[in-house]
């Protein structure tokens, strides 16, 4: 353990909207605040789904184009299967239930856990404009809609790291 220059702040950027990208972001953010490390999370592009009221409960994992995808028991999962209707939904439901067993909560609750500890959630202005989203479409506790410059302005200080999930 390096105690000479401890991590004090993490600025996490999430640009993708699959279960694994969003959860990696949330685990990192919540894990930081639990350790007393300041956390600021910037959701952009498809990552915005995680903080959009209509989408945040519906995020999925990609069953096509995912070479690490395997059926339970480690059996191969051919991409062509992933194309069938309902497979993506089924696989996503399975992922969520395995996480629930490990006490990993749904997206909205996970975001609340992070903000309860002082974590801050931001949305990207450019991506919002692109997807024609308004502030009121976002989860209520999103602190602000920022430009990249405004986000960088928050990422200064000794012991700060920027993480792109």
């Amino acid at each position: 353990m390096n105690n000479e220059s401890p991590l004090k702040k993490v600025c996490i950027i999430c640009a993708k909207g699959t279960i694994e990208d969003v959860y990696a972001t949330l685990v990192l953010a919540n894990g930081a605040v639990m350790e007393g490390i300041e956390a600021k999370v910037f959701f952009t592009f498809f990552g915005l789904d995680a903080i959009t009221k209509k989408q945040m409960k519906k995020i999925k994992t990609a069953t096509v184009g995912n070479p690490a995808m395997r059926a339970p028991g480690g059996l191969p999962f051919p991409t062509i299967l992933g194309m069938l209707p309902g497979v993506e939904a089924g696989v996503s439901a399975m992922m969520k239930s395995s996480m629930e067993k490990l006490d990993i909560p749904p997206v909205d609750e996970f975001l609340e856990m992070s903000t309860a500890g002082g974590g801050e959630i931001y949305a990207c202005k450019l991506a919002m404009d692109m997807f024609k989203l308004k502030k009121e479409d976002l989860w209520d506790e999103v602190k602000a809609v920022l430009t990249v410059g405004e986000f960088y302005a928050m990422c200064g200080g000794e012991g700060t790291q920027i993480i792109f999930t």
Binding site: V27, V33, M34, E35, G36, D103, M113, A116, G118
Partner: protein, 103 residues
């Protein structure tokens, strides 16, 4: 691993200050440990510590989410009680091992 005297009790702790043997714990030790970290324990704190000790004794995996659903306080409340370490500080004061979970 080291011997340490906390509040007049000789206990064994690891290099992060967690008790090695949960049965060596008592309230005075908790109060003294918390004071070293700048926290004055109240009855509310002790309710959380008792919850953690019971869950640990049953071999349960502790997460902040579970403690937040204990009915004692919510997650925000846990951060207020144990600033900057809602699970790791509370576990330390409860005399149980540092939780090995990511949530």
């Amino acid at each position: 691993m080291a011997q340490k005297t906390i509040a007049g009790h000789a206990v064994e702790v690891n290099d992060e200050g967690y008790l090695l043997d949960a049965s060596q714990w008592n309230r005075e030790i908790a109060i003294e440990m918390a004071r070293e970290d700048g926290i004055e324990l109240t009855e509310k704190h002790f309710e959380v510590l008792e919850f953690l000790r019971n869950a640990n004794a049953k071999g349960e995996t502790l997460t902040i989410r579970r403690v937040g659903k204990s009915g004692i306080t919510d997650i925000k409340g846990l951060y207020d009680l144990f600033p900057k370490g809602p699970l790791k500080l509370s576990s330390k004061f409860a005399g149980i091992p540092k939780p090995a979970s990511c949530v």
